[in-house]
Symmetry: C3
Subunit: 194 residues, 3 copies
């Protein structure tokens, strides 16, 4: 388990130059705490203790400013940096090595559609692997954001995003040009139209 | 009073598919707690105990992440979903059955205008009945948002919004076309230009 | 020291019509508390007690919803109004009499650029004197925002901003026209295209 923790830390270090030691990350990173609480809440949700699970989720929100519904499905090495105001909905799915900044929503589109017609259907986004979502971005509805896509800061995404796409603005448009494969060295959340 | 609570719960249930029981809502919905604290703070403000009222408002902000000025005027069945980062200003007015998501501001435009010239005048928005405001939207200045209008996620509204208008972008534009009456089944906060 | 506090209060009063007394500001303004905690954390950071400094910074975040890296450099009379969700990065610099609203980020652009190549270089913005940044605005990368500039609500700024510039939208564009000197009576954070 310590090994797993170390791998998680290495993955964070590669994404945040201010993350200088494992101790520092454990003590001062709210996003790490939030994911830890989510793992517990998700485990309890699976035991069908749903109200207890949501109470743990709310406790984590109080402590970290990050709200993750216990029924969300989250892969390896999710890193939520800063994190205040993040909301991850009930039917959201997140792949491996995803990075979210503060203020990000993986949300639904109720009450647009009648609430009673939405029970039991997928109403939140799916993020595949290696996706980066900039601060304040809103991804809404059961859309799919494919591998290595980047969502710009304060963008509003309500449609599927292709592999390696770079989405900017309201509503978000893909500013990725050409067909070369996604360049992971490019600015993710400061992304801007030329 | 229990009857009133039940009606409030029914109104929430119709707007959020994850709100499956009254107990769950009471225990885990920060927006419900924030409105409860506001009612107390507002009562105390009316008694002219203004500093105490604002301290209660700040306690509620600490507990829920939602900041409501005790002098704001709020109607029936306000539902603030998720709620982290919501700010409702001193002279804001909210009608009945309004829904706000997290990150919404009903704010002023100081220090644009000299602070001393603003004391005692209305400087925050008015939302009429059945308005829905998407996550991260900013409504600024003494504008009026008329019945059944929807404000898109991350939109910035600084002008009046007509009845049933659908406002998107920065600055927000009305994308509602045609003159048929507002269609309350349409997506509110995932609203997008075609 | 009381004299200094009084000057700080006067500067806040001139920027917020709801700030009616010094006592009220001390008791109920999270932005004032956050700056106070930052001063302590910054002092401890300079003593090279870096983990302790960041723990104090995180405590302040928990209490106020405002996250200021202890290594940031901040001038006189910074006023953070409401403040929930504000993030100020490690190498950010802020001049005198700056006003930030809630949800503002002075952030970096990692993991766009490899984290290991960013250690020790400036990667966050510099705000000169008298800058006003509207709620939800994101200023990202080592850009310079010159004296008296205003950044509109929910704007995303990734380039330098000239003196007195008024930046709106995603990516933010300067809507200041003409060459007359900055008009400090103009609306700052409700700024909108005509």
């Amino acid at each position: 388990m310590f090994d797993q923790l170390k791998k998680y830390f290495e993955s964070i270090k590669s994404r945040d130059p201010a993350a200088t030691s494992l101790l520092l990350v454990l003590l001062t990173y709210p996003g790490v705490k939030a994911v830890f609480f989510y793992r517990i809440a998700n485990f309890i949700w699976e035991l069908n203790l749903k109200i207890l699970a949501r109470m743990i989720s709310q406790l984590a929100r109080f402590l970290t400013g990050i709200e993750i519904h216990p029924a969300a499905k989250i892969g390896k090495n999710l890193f939520i940096d800063h994190g205040m105001g993040v909301v991850i909905g009930e039917t959201a799915q997140i792949g491996d090595n995803v990075t979210l900044y503060h203020g990000v929503t993986l949300g639904g589109i109720s009450p647009a559609i009648k609430s009673s017609e939405q029970v039991g259907i997928k109403r939140h986004p799916t993020l595949e692997n290696d996706v980066i979502v900039g601060s304040g971005a809103q991804i809404l509805g059961p859309v799919i954001v494919k591998n290595c896509a980047r969502i710009g800061s304060n963008a509003v995404v309500t449609k599927d995003v292709p592999r390696g796409g770079i989405m900017v603005g309201i509503p978000a448009k893909n500013i990725k040009t050409g067909t070369k494969k996604p360049d992971t060295s490019f600015a993710p959340y400061a992304v801007t139209k030329k």
